[in-house]
Symmetry: C2
Subunit: 201 residues, 2 copies
């Protein structure tokens, strides 16, 4: 990693933290410069515009998500073990991001859903990539005979996303001490609805 | 309704609209005054502080939610018909609030979850009231013998909330044309998991 790249990575890491607290809209080149003690002009040379900064911060968060959630999960056995690993890692991500700010993607979704433009488009692209990944991992379970072939991967993906949004809401806003237990029960119910041979608990 | 009350209602209605677009943090007495063409001092006399305004806007949105979702639903037959009506009305609310800004509560949840204070507390109270309402309606289904007595109303409530958050995300951010169909399928799966006598589709 060259020096410039290391600097850029460190800046973006701080940008992700800041964005989860201020919202993406609150993330400006000037504010980030103040936070990290660099000159605004120096930071401007890196990112050129507020929108470019916001998009690169989203990319940096997505890269970390891939490293922490997707890569370890796809090292697990294909099928149900891999789907379970994906859920566990994702839950771990949501928990570790439960300090001030929470998950950047959940915050950005609420913030950007009605703000057309390149930043919203980038967020949608990243989310589509993640939804596709879930669908691909789900299909390994069909291939392995763990999941029903007639169940719709798109529905599974949608439902798994709902489980995680429900967890995020119950934990981050409501401080429900049973949030994780509820999310695990919901995931278990989802899994049992797609299993090729239903097991009774 | 006295004249002062009518004015207040109209002001708060506009406040709800504005808050869904700017976020609750963006809703200031000055900004709302400009929007409705009243003097800032006049509006200040009504609300005294930004926080009081924000809390009353949340209350006004909750009152509308009760009128549009809860009251019509509880006029339906106890048990499964009432739970279904609650879901249909809630979905209708989420759809009708799918113009610029979307549902104030979903936006406020992401915005306020890491901002301690009276506005966050009010939001949590209102959400607790709504979660309790779902639980109460669910229990009429247990009493009527529609739902299993051993199923946890808290889990049902959590899961129904997750279904609606998933719909909101799929529709508002992802513009998924199948968002509603997915949400209905998820609700159907949830219902069938709590029915006293499982029906096969």
């Amino acid at each position: 990693m060259r020096k410039g790249e290391a600097t850029r990575t460190a800046i973006l890491e701080r940008g992700v933290q800041l964005a989860t607290q201020t919202g993406l809209e609150g993330l400006t080149i000037g504010r980030l410069a103040t936070e990290i003690g660099l000159s605004k002009s120096g930071l401007f040379a890196h990112f050129r515009s507020k929108e470019a900064l916001q998009m690169q911060v989203l990319d940096a968060a997505a890269e970390r998500f891939v490293d922490e959630v997707v890569k370890p999960a796809v090292r697990e056995l294909r099928g149900e073990p891999r789907v379970k690993a994906l859920f566990e890692r994702w839950l771990g991500w949501a928990k570790s991001n439960s300090g001030p700010g929470g998950c950047l993607f959940v915050a950005a979704a609420a913030e950007l859903d009605d703000r057309p433009g390149p930043v919203r488009e980038r967020l949608v692209e990243l989310q589509e990539g993640w939804l596709d990944t879930i669908g691909i991992v789900y299909r390994t379970g069909v291939d392995e005979g763990h999941f029903r072939a007639d169940a719709d991967p798109g529905q599974f993906t949608h439902d798994l996303y709902s489980v995680m949004l429900g967890y995020h809401h119950a934990w981050r806003l409501m401080r429900d001490p049973r949030a994780e237990e509820r999310a695990r029960a919901a995931f278990e119910r989802l899994l049992s609805s797609v299993r090729a041979h239903r097991r009774t608990a």
